[in-house]
């Protein structure tokens, strides 16, 4: 116990004097003794201030939360961890990011054990912001955070995190989970386009071994693309990893059949197909999405009518889309007009619907601003791309590889790029 006490003194002393690196070394040495005393470390925390003594606090906290914890211990730990996350200093934390991450993960486990995921949402968000090196960095905490958001149904908060573009990734598995949970949150917020992007990223990521996350993501991807695009592309893009290309279709058979049925356009067949595989959809927790797919089939058929007709009676719409009555047709059309999926006016006197062209003339100031900002954004993206290209072309590994593989046809080809770099 004295070792612990002396450690605490060191922490307090060195933190206030600013000699963090020395403290870091001491803490690493004291690792073993901390783990040995893990059960009795909780009261020690009261002596330390999370804001100034962040690094020391972190070590002790991590030792406390290692090992299996019962429910009472969990509830005791939750509050200190939350307070720590909120008040800790980012630079000190970043000296030992993996400890911080493991503390946060344990925090999430505690919160789930207590069945109060909502308590963990805000602290997790703060934790992410503190540990991220830049807004484009994906940490291991992102998927945990999104999981908590999903469980506590706080979709808006989760969605705000998804707005950041990710370019740097620590662990592929983090990315898969992040995109998968992110896709689910977007579906909950009805932002199907972003959901499609995220799920597409999971499915087409390079991966060496086939995993279940990709399978589940692909199933949702099929359903969301039917709902949003009214269409489904059967072939995976060329850049999908070979393990995915070979195996995905085998695991997602009922969904692919559903997609083929949808594209053929007959509501009756679609309903029959849904009934046939109902259990499988329920087991995957996708039944809600499947029901949305069904209702989007009507929308697709109505949208096709706008291509061929200028005016059409509600009864005719009901007949060609296979709805039961003109009233139902009216409701569907009204819904679509409100959602902005079609442009039309309903004349209730004759029961006629008049389809209009898209009124957007692309002449307003607002539109010009939109185009301008898109141009700027894409130019920035291009610059980024060029920068990465330059980086790679000056990378020694790359140069040595291309130097080796170049073909030499005659004497003039022997220029100054050497075959092998010896650095």
């Amino acid at each position: 116990m004295e070792a612990i006490q002396s450690l605490v003194m060191n922490i307090q002393g060195l933190s206030s004097s600013g000699d963090i690196s020395h403290l870091h070394v001491l803490l690493k040495q004291a690792q073993e003794s901390l783990y040995a005393e893990s059960t009795r470390l909780l009261p020690v925390l009261d002596q330390l201030d999370p804001a100034t003594h962040s690094l020391g606090y972190l070590y002790i906290l991590e030792a406390c939360s290692s090992g299996s914890i019962s429910k009472e211990q969990a509830s005791a730990l939750v509050l200190p961890i939350a307070r720590f996350i909120n008040s800790c200093v980012a630079e000190q934390i970043r000296l030992q990011p993996d400890k911080f991450i493991s503390v946060c993960k344990r925090f999430k486990d505690h919160v789930m054990l207590l069945e109060a995921p909502l308590r963990g949402v805000a602290p997790m968000l703060t934790a992410i912001r503190k540990i991220q090196t830049s807004s484009e960095h994906l940490t291991s905490l992102h998927p945990e955070f999104l999981l908590l958001c999903l469980l506590s149904k706080s979709y808006k908060v989760g969605y705000s995190v998804l707005d950041d573009d990710i370019f740097e990734v620590d662990q592929p598995r983090d990315l898969f989970l992040y995109c998968y949970y992110g896709g689910m949150i977007c579906i909950g917020q009805k932002r199907f386009r972003k959901a499609l992007e995220l799920l597409h990223n999971v499915v087409t990521s390079p991966m060496t071994s086939f995993n279940a996350i990709a399978v589940e993501a692909y199933k949702k991807h099929i359903l969301v693309s039917l709902i949003h695009n009214w269409n489904f592309c059967t072939s995976l893009p060329k850049y999908t990893s070979s393990v995915c290309q070979r195996n995905l279709k085998n695991y997602c058979q009922p969904y692919i059949e559903l997609a083929h049925c949808y594209v053929s356009g007959k509501i009756v067949h679609l309903e029959a197909m849904v009934d046939r595989h109902r259990e499988k959809y329920e087991n995957d927790n996708n039944l809600g999405l499947v029901k949305q797919v069904l209702s989007s089939q009507y929308k697709r058929n109505i949208q096709r009518l706008t291509q061929t007709y200028l005016t059409l009676s509600l009864q005719d719409i009901a007949n060609s889309v296979q709805l039961n009555s003109a009233k139902e047709a009216e409701m569907h059309v009204l819904q679509m007009i409100e959602d902005g999926q079609i442009f039309a006016t309903i004349n209730q006197k004759d029961g006629m619907v008049r389809f209009l062209e898209d009124p957007e003339q692309y002449k307003t100031c607002h539109m010009i601003e939109h185009i301008d900002s898109s141009i700027q954004r894409i130019m920035a993206l291009s610059r980024k791309l060029t920068a990465i290209d330059e980086n790679i072309s000056t990378d020694p590994l790359f140069l040595s590889k291309t130097g080796r593989e170049r073909q030499r046809f005659d004497f003039d080809d022997y220029d100054s790029v050497p075959q092998k770099f010896n650095i």
Binding site: F167, E197, S205, T308, I371, S374, I375, L381
Partner: protein, 445 residues
């Protein structure tokens, strides 16, 4: 109908010329031919050889609802078979007759036996001769021997053996005439067998012969090629081949096809697949083909009607011809498709020059009702063959031309978004691959 024209040839020709001279009024008042039943005798007289029998049998098979016609066809088939040496066909036709035509049209066992015995003897003789020639190694005689074998097998209905024999003559052909003869014979047998891939290959072979072929052979080859394309549903190519057939064909290819058929097949395929300019240049202004069209005035009339937008009468002619064309051995299963295509082209051509079209008037022009017409137009619009939209309330069709400016803006914004999305996921993937690469190299060290 086609048969009638042929047997009373000169008189009909005068009638046609008279109409042309007097001008348009006469054409309008000329009555549309009623769909008379096919005159089987006249039809059959157009052909010779095995195809005559096959066509008659086909007609009998197809007209099982019309007993008189069926029996007539079977009777003529029986007579024709008796003139030949094919006992297998004889047995078949007797089975089909089932004694309905009386005792003279029953199974003639004596005749069968005689024919079979004669065949055996002839076969032996041919074999002996062939062996003699082979030992003597006289190329020309061996070739003739195989040819005779081919003819023999063909007469007896053993088409596979006939084909093989003809093909064997190839090794012994010395002049280009021999090769041509071989190709023509193989083509004939292949058509009878229905193996049109062989037909195509032998036609190509014949056409590659460097010496100029005589016009009759050229015409024969074109017809056969047209038939092959027709069978493989390449209607445009079939039309071109039939239209290139020279009038020298005459009756020389009656064992396969009659000139009336050339006109009908060529005309219908052209109408279904050619665009307006091609139709005018290659069909209406084609002097060679006009000779063929004279033989089938309905087809000529319907092509002219289509070109001059008299769709109702054009479709009438088509309807009248349909029943009899369904009895044609080569055309019957392509008829529906061709008719469908012609009708679609008529609809598209009708709507093309107008900004708005009253659907009632259009329905009258096409002799159909408005709702059926709406359905057809809907299918064409969805297929993007007609650029228009239907005002279902007032029953008017409005032409619709896409607004280029808006469409461009829309596409630009969409492309921008796609670029954005794709580059971001690419950068992500690059990062993942780099991570994997780093992982692998760190493991190596």
């Amino acid at each position: 109908m086609e048969g009638d024209d042929d047997t009373s040839g000169p008189m009909i020709d005068d009638e046609i010329y008279a109409n042309g001279v007097d001008g348009d009024n006469e054409k309008r008042s000329r009555p549309i031919m009623s769909s008379e039943q096919l005159d089987i005798e006249a039809y059959a007289s157009l052909y010779s050889g095995r195809t005559k029998i096959m066509r008659l049998l086909f007609i009998a098979q197809r007209s099982q609802s019309n007993e008189a016609m069926e029996l007539e066809a079977l009777r003529m088939a029986y007579d024709e078979i008796k003139k030949g040496e094919n006992t297998q066909l004889h047995r078949e036709v007797v089975q089909k007759i089932v004694g309905r035509l009386g005792p003279e049209y029953g199974m003639d066992v004596a005749w069968c036996d005689t024919v079979d015995r004669r065949a055996e003897q002839k076969k032996e003789k041919l074999e002996n001769e062939l062996n003699a020639y082979r030992t003597n190694l006289i190329k020309e005689s061996i070739r003739m021997g195989y040819n005779d074998f081919g003819d023999f097998y063909y007469a007896h209905g053993q088409l596979g053996d006939a084909f093989k024999s003809y093909v064997r003559t190839r090794d012994y052909c010395t002049t280009s005439k021999h090769i041509v003869h071989m190709c023509i014979s193989s083509t004939l047998v292949s058509i009878e067998m229905g193996q049109f891939t062989h037909v195509t290959s032998y036609i190509t072979k014949a056409e590659q012969i460097p010496d100029a072929l005589d016009p009759v052979t050229v015409a024969k080859l074109r017809c056969a090629a047209g038939l092959a394309h027709l069978e493989s549903k390449k209607y445009k190519l079939a039309a071109r081949k039939f239209l290139e057939t020279g009038p020298e064909l005459g009756n020389h290819y009656n064992e396969v096809i009659a000139p009336q058929d050339v006109a009908t097949y060529g005309g219908l395929c052209a109408l279904a697949t050619f665009d307006r300019m091609e139709l005018k240049n290659k069909v209406i202004d084609n002097l060679n083909f006009r000779n063929f069209l004279e033989l089938v005035p309905e087809v000529r009339e319907l092509i002219n009607d289509f070109y001059s937008s008299h769709y109702a009468s054009c479709l009438d002619y088509l309807g009248n011809l349909k029943a009899n064309l369904l009895l044609d051995i080569h055309l019957h299963d392509h008829l529906e498709t061709l008719y469908g295509q012609i009708r679609h082209k008529a609809l598209i051509q009708y709507t093309h020059p107008f900004v708005s079209v009253d659907l009632h008037m259009m329905a009258n022009a096409f002799k159909t009702d408005v709702s059926g017409l709406e359905k057809e137009l809907e299918a064409l619009i969805t297929d993007n063959q007609v650029q228009a939209r239907i005002d279902s309330h007032n029953k008017v069709l409005y032409a619709r031309h896409a607004d280029q400016r808006n469409a461009t803006f829309q596409r630009v914004l969409q492309t921008g978004n796609e670029f954005d999305r794709d580059v971001k996921s690419m950068l992500l993937r690059v990062n993942l691959i780099k991570h994997e690469h780093n992982l692998r190299s760190s493991r190596k060290h």
